[in-house]
Point group: C2
Chain length 195, copies 2
Amino acid sequence: MSSHILPVPLEKANRLINHGPTVLVSASHGGVDNVMAAAWVCGLDFAPPKVSLVLARTSMTRELAEKSGHLVVQVPTVRQAKLVHDVGNSSGRDAPDKLKRCGVELFRLDGVPAPFVSGCSAWLACRLIPDAHLRNGYDMFAAEVTGAWADDRVFRDGHWQFETADAGWRSLHYIAGGHFYAIGNVVDVPGPETD
Amino acid sequence: MSSHILPVPLEKANRLINHGPTVLVSASHGGVDNVMAAAWVCGLDFAPPKVSLVLARTSMTRELAEKSGHLVVQVPTVRQAKLVHDVGNSSGRDAPDKLKRCGVELFRLDGVPAPFVSGCSAWLACRLIPDAHLRNGYDMFAAEVTGAWADDRVFRDGHWQFETADAGWRSLHYIAGGHFYAIGNVVDVPGPETD
């Protein structure tokens, strides 16, 4: 694990995905790891922080997450665009060496059952909230964020630093096909300071 | 209504919000209109297209949407950053002249019960799907997209044109407080062409 990866207070965890980046979702069960790309992942609550995720029925990562009850949501960077696209266009069911072929390297943190993808800018360790209605009706999952981390080269003091960090750290925002946008310039509306 | 506002085929409606922009949600009931800002709005399904929305219990726009069964999700632009911030930091309950004070202008389209906010880049007309479990458990709403439109100066031929449009058309991506990022540069991963 890189020495640049620092914990983010849970009350600021939502800031890691509020801007709507495309994310990678990772899970592990019975010695098998997998990673998928997901565009439909969103904040759901503040305290405790929760996220919602739409995960396709056919996804192997979803199966591992459901079996283990845990997953990690991570924010990939512009540098990882090909990795995100490749991970999103192959299944661990068809290609057991998917992660290797896509260039995914994993690391682990004590106490978190799901694996973390190296090179991302931020990570949310999540515990699935069992909810058959969401799952069966919408392929949706609610998850409580139990821990959050970010790379201090791009998220520091509770804030993204996209405007000063190297452009390779910018988040990816999926449209369709192989088409993404990077996050862009800061837009500040003057008003009372928030922490 | 501007002559630049063109319909978007429903099968491409998700592209209007896939990149995770902060949106404005508008609704109308009993002659009262209101508009709120929302960061937790996300794709939910493709065919028919659906979106999920987290709408705070105290929101007047949510009440109008629930009473009428309809709302519009629209994508505001960098030019509208102050409007988005102001709309998100006042309630129509406390200030009946909220829309005027925030500089919100509305327009209507035939057959859509909810109002549209002028100056945005894209609009999704939505019909709420009654679901007490989502509402009571998560303050979440599922909605079917019944119509989609975009301004052809920034979305044409099924694709965002952020890279060539004036920078004022870029979408806003909320972090916290008055702090947003604009969407940035295109990132294309070579692969099979999609339409």
